[in-house]
Symmetry: C2
Subunit: 262 residues, 2 copies
């Protein structure tokens, strides 16, 4: 069962600090919710930015420590991109989809297709880092589904509510400009909402009706989260109902052989 | 100026009937808002499904009346799709991006890339239609930006609030499964949110920071709108602030020459 009521509310949860390596993210979130007086209930979904997890996992890399391979050097020269970043992108990926000036679109080891393997240079300086090892970049979290699961486990055991957790990142897209929030980790919330069995008011079966539920939740939360100084890395989405799902974010990814644009 | 507060609320506006050709959509929306006791204020965004507009514009086509061209017959045979639907897709498009079994991905005359030109067979029977002309399909609205503008003009003049209007459709995507809401018409709300000038907490300029604002609003609203019997073709999004924009939805579309996947 999946449903969304006629009213959906998104609230940025205040009090999440800029965490560093080793932070216990489930505990940080639990504490922030308690401090804000938020009591979780069934159907609540928490959307956490990938950046919060990456920082907690210490996924910082100082480019001074990266020694590019011959392939990264060649590719970097060809597309005009720092070979050390190209090296990191290749390490994080299983295939290159497109290479163009300044950008490498790759299939990430986590299964999705993303520009530059989701590697980001904003908010990427680790706490207490000296300038000598920089510039710094931040890799995507190791295992966002597992991180979502760990957050959900802690909060469900504390609240006795059945919730969902989504780990979000901002993705560019073919065909369309601007980034949108996408789900790279999911626990509890079904990633896809298959409505093919339902009928429209005339009884005709609905056609194009598998909704990317977790991606839409991530996109909605991205409106509230922002990315800049007022960053809000945790957003509570309230107003949906669903039976708990154990399906991860890979269900949102097309297999290359079923992708007309692979 | 564009901003989103820490709280965003989405509400399905009740009382929108299943309209037919000739319906005055701005009046229908105005009436539904008044009946629900909703008073618009600055920064409110109304998201209207494309289907509501298509029905009001009488964009129904009975396939019995469609005579496919030689090209449509050839293409339909090749991909195993009704040549009459292929004919309509080609008429609505400026280029074919991909052809595969059962699906034609095209560049729509409105500028965006979409499967099957957005032509839909659910909720596609016009009021009072006999069975003899069917089956029926529904084309996308003629000019969604202009429709958004007309809705906005009426509601702004009645409410004296500065609002945004988005016309949404559900799009499939390369790389990822499931549909997401996308903006095919926009008025008032800036379609893109360019945050490149802002700094992150370390003062480094943000990198990948042009957000597809109107698409994310459409995706969020799609969660509430649903598509089936309980269809909610009008969603109010409350909690953003923005200076009125006159930029239409075409700003969300990549030019083919800047699209690595065109």
């Amino acid at each position: 069962m999946i449903a969304c009521g006629p009213r959906l509310e998104l609230v940025a949860v205040p009090g999440i600090p800029l965490v560093g390596p080793g932070a216990d993210v489930p505990a940080v979130i639990s504490h922030a919710l308690a401090s804000a007086g938020i009591v979780l209930s069934d159907g609540d979904v928490l959307v956490v930015t990938s950046k919060l997890l990456s920082r907690a996992e210490g996924r910082f890399v100082g480019l001074g420590d990266v020694h590019p391979s011959a392939r990264a050097l060649e590719l970097g020269a060809r597309i005009g991109k720092d070979a050390r970043i190209v090296e990191l992108i290749l390490r994080e990926s299983t295939a290159v989809s497109r290479a163009a000036p300044g950008v490498l679109v790759v299939r990430h080891r986590l299964g999705f297709v993303v520009a530059n393997a989701g590697i980001d240079a904003s908010n990427a300086v680790p706490p207490g880092a000296g300038a000598e090892s920089g510039p710094w970049v931040l890799l995507l979290p190791e295992s966002p589904d597992a991180s979502a699961r760990a957050i959900r486990d802690r909060l469900e055991s504390e609240s006795h509510a059945r919730i969902g957790v989504v780990v979000s990142d901002s993705f560019g897209r073919p065909f369309r400009l601007g980034t949108v929030g996408a789900a790279i980790g999911v626990s509890g919330l079904p990633p896809l909402w298959d409505r093919r069995g339902e009928a429209d008011p005339f009884g005709r079966a609905l056609e194009q009706t598998i909704t990317a539920l977790a991606d839409q939740v991530a996109a909605a939360a991205d409106l509230v989260a922002g990315q800049a100084a007022e960053g809000r890395p945790l957003v509570l989405v309230r107003g949906m109902r669903f039976d708990s799902s154990e399906i991860g974010a890979r269900a949102l990814t097309r297999k290359p052989e079923e992708d007309l644009y692979a």
